[in-house]
């Protein structure tokens, strides 16, 4: 199952009813983008993400210090010289958080892209071909559905071992079932649509029907799930790193900075507060955007927009 699909619970009650009967064309995408920018919360989310992403990309120029440079000024509280203070080795906390955003965002985005690619493919195949393929895929999805993604990721790290690549593989596999489940449900409904029968009647191949007629129509819920999943993947990576099951200790990531700071929480509060604040800010921003997207892609809203 999954972990926290929290934000979509409210929608999930009515939202499961059927497919959204539209395929995104280029024109509709720009309409979505334009309307998203009119949503104040989504705009705030996008702005935060833009700032964080810029910081991550240009980290060597943005960060005031080398994140690994140790100094004599250890455990300094926030000051003008070190806006977020320093850690036990005299390293500048702000610089470490800016560099840490690189791994956190990279893991979040990569794992969700991978999980979506494999999960959607699995869902497409299961929903389209049905029978034993579907049964097999569904049994697997049901099994994984019974456990939270985070626990699955921990179990997988136990097998693969720690390190960046293993963490990415573990989180990808843990999130895969969410995408497969959503896509399969959509395909089952879309498969019966008239335009699919029409395509089949004019002799389109399975491949063409799947990729040109069915896949585009499954995308909007996948995109919404994807946005939410990125925030959970970032939280997952942070938690794994915090538990010592994440990336190697030499790479600064938000979870790892917090793990390193464990012995000093009681004496140097800033080491405990700021890295977590960074995680929360990004997750909050992603959820704002995700909520905005969900509202936009709702079928009723959309039809009004199309008129």
């Amino acid at each position: 199952m999954g972990t926290p699909r929290a934000f979509e619970f409210e929608e999930s009650l009515e939202g499961l009813a059927g497919p959204r009967p539209w395929a995104p064309s280029r024109r509709t995408w720009s309409a979505v983008a334009r309307r998203l920018l009119r949503d104040r919360r989504a705009l705030l989310g996008l702005a935060i993400l833009g700032i964080v992403a810029t910081g991550a990309i240009f980290a060597p120029w943005v960060a005031p210090y080398d994140p690994a440079a140790q100094g004599q000024e250890m455990l300094l509280p926030p000051s003008l010289k070190h806006p977020l203070g320093t850690d036990d080795l005299g390293r500048d906390l702000l610089s470490r958080i800016i560099f840490g955003s690189r791994v956190s965002l990279f893991v979040g985005i990569t794992t969700v892209l991978l999980a979506a690619t494999f999960g959607v493919s699995l869902g497409l195949i299961a929903g389209f071909y049905g029978r034993w393929v579907d049964m097999l895929v569904m049994r697997y999805i049901d099994l994984q559905w019974a456990f939270p993604n985070f626990i699955i990721a921990v179990g997988l790290v136990a097998i693969f071992g720690t390190g960046l690549v293993n963490v990415i593989v573990a989180i990808t596999l843990a999130f895969l079932d969410d995408f497969a489940r959503i896509t399969r449900g959509m395909v089952l409904a879309i498969r019966e649509e008239e335009y699919v029968s029409a395509a089949r009647a004019v002799g389109a191949s399975d491949r063409r029907i799947l990729l040109r007629h069915i896949l585009p129509n499954t995308l909007s819920p996948v995109i919404v799930q994807g946005t939410v999943s990125i925030s959970y993947a970032i939280l997952g990576e942070a938690a794994l790193s915090f538990l010592g099951l994440g990336v190697k200790p030499t790479t600064p990531t938000w979870g790892l900075i917090l793990n390193d700071a464990r012995p000093f929480f009681t004496t140097a509060w800033w080491l405990g507060v700021f890295p977590g604040l960074a995680i929360m800010l990004v997750v909050l921003a992603i959820n704002f955007v995700g909520d905005g997207l969900r509202d936009l892609m709702d079928v009723k809203e959309y039809q009004e927009a199309r008129r």
């Binding site: 199952m1 999954g2 972990t3 926290p4 699909r5 929290a6 934000f7 619970f9 409210e10 009650l13 099994l143 019974a146 456990f147 939270p148 985070f150 626990i151 921990v154 179990g155 790290v157 136990a158 097998i159 693969f160 071992g161 925030s231 939280l235 942070a238 938690a239 915090f242 538990l243 010592g244 099951l245 979870g255 917090l258 929480f265 009681t266 509060w269 405990g272 507060v273 890295p275 977590g276 995680i279 929360m280 997750v283 909050l284 959820n287």
Partner: protein, 315 residues
């Protein structure tokens, strides 16, 4: 109803079997030699052969699998490589701590979440609704381990109201037991309570539009009775469905909370044994956590059927 319960029980046992099988394959899927991975490359070949024999890894695959299932039925999970203790002993020591934590976390989440949801729905768009909405959003966006850290900094270090680490058994007294669990329970339960609050709000809003609520009001019943007796009861049905999913979140949160607050529960045992590459304990801990999930899901399914007559009567 009886048939429904039997079906769910059978399905749960099937899932347990599947999990046991997966764990069996996991042990054998470890890249390289699992025994070497456990004891390191410096260990002498004799020790390695001994451990391999003790774990039964020198037997044919199918024999290993059948033995594994049989030993599970006997509740024999082997010994820890780290300290030679029986895995079942370690787990039995850890389990009460995890269950205590999960129970308190669940109670905290329900006590905070459901009333917040009711207030939000009844006073929709009021100041308190907005405050609860923002709080729920923050609760869901906050990494749970970080919330734990903040709670330690505030309540244990600055205010010194509650202990920051460790666990006291309930035999040591109610307060020592409870005081060690309040902060971990908040850590594990906040996300869950945020979900409960949002869910209760939207379900109650939906129900308040129904005809029978209008009828109840028209009869001149007090608003309190309309909401608590007529509306809430129906609104809680979808909330309970979510509880199964959200309970998983709570247990995952407990794993984290145990590690932040140094409570030697199943979650801490799991992480420690992963770090020590103590695979028999890893196996055992995963199985215990999986069992809790499976039976929790079973419990929620049955509870749901009991509450919702639509399911009860479909046979």
């Amino acid at each position: 109803m009886k048939r429904y319960i039997l079906e769910r029980v059978a399905y749960s046992l099937l899932v347990m079997w599947a999990v046991a099988t997966l764990v069996f394959f996991m042990m054998r899927a470890i890249p390289g030699d699992p025994v070497r991975a456990m004891v390191g490359f410096e260990a002498d070949p004799q020790t390695v052969a001994q451990i391999r024999h003790n774990l039964g890894l020198d037997q044919p695959f199918l024999v290993q699998y059948v033995r594994w299932l049989l030993s599970l039925i006997r509740l024999d999970l082997g010994n820890s490589i780290w300290n030679q203790q029986k895995v079942t002993t370690l787990l039995l020591e850890a389990l009460p701590r995890t269950l205590s934590l999960a129970t308190i976390a669940f109670s905290v989440a329900v006590i905070l979440g459901i009333p917040a949801g009711i207030v939000s729905a009844v006073r929709r768009y009021s100041l308190s609704d907005h405050i609860f909405t923002v709080a729920a959003f923050l609760g869901l966006s906050m990494p749970d381990f970080w919330l734990g850290i903040l709670l330690i900094i505030l309540f244990a270090t600055k205010l010194q109201w509650l202990p920051a680490f460790g666990y006291e058994p309930i035999s040591a007294g109610i307060w020592p037991w409870l005081s060690h669990l309040i902060l971990p329970a908040l850590t594990a339960g906040t996300a869950f309570s945020a979900i409960l609050a949002r869910m209760t709000r939207s379900a109650l809003l939906e129900v308040l539009r129904e005809d029978y609520v209008r009828t109840a009001r028209a009869k001149g019943l007090k608003e309190q009775i309309v909401i608590l007796k007529h509306a809430l009861r129906n609104a809680l049905i979808p909330v309970i469905t979510v509880m199964g999913i959200a309970f998983a979140l709570l247990l995952a949160g407990s794993v984290i909370a145990e590690n932040v607050f140094a409570i030697k529960g199943v979650g801490r045992l799991l992480i420690e044994s992963i770090l020590n590459r103590d695979f028999p304990v890893v196996q055992g801990a995963i199985l215990v956590i999986a069992t809790i999930f499976v039976f929790m899901n079973l419990f929620v399914d049955i509870l749901y059927a009991l509450i919702n007559p639509k399911i009860r009567y479909v046979e």
